[in-house]
Symmetry: D2
Subunit: 357 residues, 4 copies
């Protein structure tokens, strides 16, 4: 049973959260499908400027209504929450309007197009006492969480570095660069795994197809703990890669989202020589067993939307919090700042814009 939080929608009776889904392009229909089947949620209405996208959904889910305008949805008291899957440039305007109308808001990543917008949305959500959540789906991925546990429990030792490739052939969004399209996945995962924000960022990129839009980027990050990370992002690649190597002082992990064995733990490393005999040292390398643990196969999107409903019901922070979403944007802005000055490293400070070092 969902506590009140001043709810007026249909969910007030059934206990279900009543959703409107906005944006029915590539990702929106997945939101509809998962919400439709999720206990505790129901899809009441959809809206997209392209009317035939709406018709497709209504044909498949006759209980869902196609709204004529976004405003109409926001005025509908039977709707508790909106799930926004539109181009990034519209996130702020749509989310702000929904929060002002008293709706809970789920926005596809990235939360907004700038730090300023994200801070504005967080402020609005606080004022309205509504839940605001960006869709960083990977935080709900079982292999990502298994890796997080290994890192947090010290199983891997000190995290020396993390190197990740997220490349394939094909553009998902047309209004942003590869840094804002694919980057948020890795930035959110790194932020989640390490529990800290990078303090320095640099990047190298090229707009191969359209000069002004980077479609390949190599991003470097440095964290306060000493960990460094490297993120390769590309829309132009011979084959799909989703490979992350986590190199720790005790063990190493390869996380590959395309594999039937998404996590492999390598009991390998360098045995550090005794500092006393440092001058004479000769490293020894150890290569041991490799373990592919059984990983649960639940769909992350389902866990994510369930977390959103739980956050609404119990007035708690979801794992993919708006604050984490803000941090992701700050990293992406750091990358852009570095690119703007030819790849120079940029310092990220907690409360201001990125500054060239």
């Amino acid at each position: 049973m969902i506590p009140a939080r001043g709810r007026s929608g249909a969910a007030a009776e059934t206990g279900d959260v009543s959703f409107a889904v906005i944006g029915l392009g590539y990702w929106g229909p997945n939101l509809v499908r998962v919400l439709h089947e999720l206990a505790g949620a129901e899809v009441t209405a959809v809206f997209d400027v392209r009317q035939d996208s709406c018709s497709d959904i209504v044909n498949r889910y006759p209980s869902v209504r196609a709204a004529r305008s976004y405003a109409e949805l926001l005025e509908d008291d039977a709707i508790d929450a909106v799930a926004i899957a539109t181009p990034v440039s519209t996130h702020y305007k749509l989310a702000a309007a929904a929060l002002r109308a008293g709706k809970h808001v789920f926005v596809e990543k990235p939360l907004a197009g700038s730090t300023e917008q994200a801070v504005g949305l967080i402020e609005l959500a606080r004022t309205a006492d509504r839940t605001l959540m960006p869709g960083h789906t990977f935080l709900y991925s079982p292999p990502v969480n298994l890796s997080r546990d290994l890192i947090r429990d010290g199983e891997l030792g000190e995290i020396f570095f993390i190197s990740t490739s997220r490349v394939n052939l094909g553009l998902h969004q047309s209004d942003v660069s590869v840094v804002w399209d694919l980057g948020p996945h890795d930035f959110s995962i790194l932020r989640y795994w390490l529990g800290e924000m990078p303090t320095r960022v640099s990047a190298w990129s090229r707009g191969c197809i359209v000069d002004s839009v980077p479609d390949v980027a190599f991003v470097n990050l440095e964290f306060p703990s000493g960990t460094i990370a490297h993120v390769e992002l590309s829309w132009l690649a011979p084959s799909k890669l989703r490979r992350t190597a986590i190199v720790g002082s005790r063990k190493m992990v390869v996380y590959d989202d395309t594999s039937v064995e998404p996590i492999r733990i390598f009991d390998s490393g360098a045995d550090v020589p005794d500092p006393e005999t440092f001058g004479e040292f000769r490293m020894t390398y150890r290569a041991g067993d490799i373990i592919s643990p059984r990983v649960d196969v639940t769909e992350p999107l389902q866990l994510e939307l369930a977390d959103f409903c739980r956050a609404i019901a119990h007035d708690v922070q979801p794992k993919s919090s708006a604050e984490l979403g803000l941090d992701v944007i700050r990293i992406a802005e750091g990358v852009d700042a570095s690119l703007a000055c030819g790849g120079a490293p940029v310092v990220l400070t907690p409360d201001s814009s990125p500054a060239v070092a």
Copy 2:
């Protein structure tokens, strides 16, 4: 039949180049093995400060003599050429002495420890009219040459970018960083493939085991033609990777030195939209056939040493020329300069030291 070039060694009679191999650590015994079996070459003597390394070789090849000192070898008129496989810090001194003694010199990569030293050796070789060649073995690798042909013949179109990973668990040399140990392989390949020197370089690294010695590095390069390249280097990695993706405007190639199919050609790419309708464009991506051409399996080291003998005999430049070796060192120094200033991009100018941009 080898022309004279003032030769006084045994080869003067048999036509074979008589070699002394210096340094019998990890790589030197391979030089001995290949030279021993190479038509046109013979191994006359070996030298290493560790006497048991010499004994091992002499036991296996009774026709080879163990010298008591390097000086003794240089005084021996029966020796035409020295092949040096010692730590990098000794390359200059050993190679310079050999050139001054009138020997042809083959030095394992990198040619020397600095631009200054490399320029010095090139000068000495010119004065002494002797062949000086660094051992950039990959220039003789059949898949590297097949890739070069595809690039040069325009088969791949414009080269947008090249991304390469060369990582595994284990240190090969103890007196240099991973940038100078593994980097020269990729720097020489890129220089060879693209036929141009990078004009800007940046890098990010960490000394995970020993603070002052980078054992992981992420290197970015920008070339005059617009091509960018990324090189990941590490002695700490869960598994061996030798993977290079070449992304061109027409086709893409994956070169993987650990695979039984070392070259795979992807007939894939993005179809560039008409600039007229630019505002409206929607990229189309094309994924076509993939071809793994049959690749010759000759050992590169054998082709390399044969090229050295040919260069001596005919007084011509080997493919792995000293000038290319100098370029490789200039890139490595650019990387070090970037690392020294925290990852800032560095401009490489043809005739001077790297400068922070």
Copy 3:
């Protein structure tokens, strides 16, 4: 527009084939999903003895009605065709009743539990002038059809042999052995590719979990053309394999249904020695390029059900014909006959039961 063929269902007006889907276990819901989205078809009703399976479907597809009995469905003139996805032991009874009621019948593979039953169904369909089609989905798989083209067009030369493994961990059906569960996939593919029936069959198997139910089997087939085939089937396997090697005199193909490159063509083979010099011969082997052609990714089930609708509309044989379905059963019975006599080869004659050789 669908020609009449004495149709009385809803489709008579809309031109769509109106379906009832029977059996909503593992596979049935896929039939509902695909038929629901297929132009030219509509799902009118479903039936399963487990009432909650029906409810699940009706909740998801509110336009679909749950019938109270199979008999009720058969009496409903608005239904043109039934699609049967029940256990094999029920196929005959359900299909026969539907044909007698004037419905077109699609039955999941195998068509029936015995040659006798399959012949009976074919006879009934002929009498009733209705379309009867077994669901040999792989005949609609793009890589299977690409392989068929390569074989038929002589690209591979003479087909020496075909070796296939279809193994994984897990039981799909509880009333039959692995031979009748997984075997029909391969038997139908081989029958389709080679265009001929095997004349001899032998098999080796074990019931590892339940003595009387083979869960692993090794099947050998010999065809009139000289081609031999081997089929490995298992419900107990460390990892999923779906690998078929087709070895021809000119080229070879590997078809792997689990790979992103499902078809790989190897320009490899043995060069046959001149018969004149036969006594002295020394074979030469040729290993050439490997090509992974781009393969269409259409869902086979969709193509299959569209073919069924087309067969109904135009009164033609579908690719997966009842006759081919009968041949598959004859092979499976041959395998059982061989197993029953300890693995002895069994001769398959066109018009009679398998006989021990």
Copy 4:
């Protein structure tokens, strides 16, 4: 120090076993190389009917003498043992002569061309009190031995079945079929792992290139314990496979000799239902962690020849005993007997020829 056993050769003094290697085709030079470097062994002489094969060896190993005839070697008292790597058809004659001349004998697999010949050689060795050993190298392979330990220690539970593929493009020996060329590897491994002889054998094959010489064969074996095994052998295959799946009631193993992870242990299986509720049962399948244990990389041939020297010195049975070699031949003869009668199963009885069941 090697005990006497009536030794008269050079080894009497140095304690080393003095070898003559006979047959310098594909494999013989490997025997020379390994024996040359093996402590406790030395290569004194070589012989091959092709004189240039001898010259090649002598050039590489100047301490080795090329004999003019086999007889000359047998008369040489300085030679303790002969290692025979000639075509199978010559094994018996060469080995018998050597045993009669008082030499210890190492013969490449298979030990001889027939059961009768193998029994004859064993008899001769017993009479002469000399060590006779067939070269079943895989019994010394670290991953094979790790698998053996897992089987023997009950880690895998009851061994349900073993399925193995040993295929590639290319013929190694010209005087035998693929059954006698590749088969002995698998037959020896199965005999070693299971510690029992199969009691029934059947096979299916084709001579694709030369009618009378099977170049592809599918072999089935049944063991007294209930384990069944399947062996796929081929000289015609699109790519090299060396894959063995061992399916036990508790765990499963994949042994792949071409992989950097040659052994993978799968904690997977079927949970057997309670016999009480048998009629109602529904199997549950369990897929758990996968472990790739670190496997030693010592060259098996080195361990094998060291075992031969140890067997000579201490007058003990080597792991690859002549009796095991005889069993391997009995299996191969069983396969031939099955092939001769069209694939009918054949019963192997301990002391007689194979009989059609």
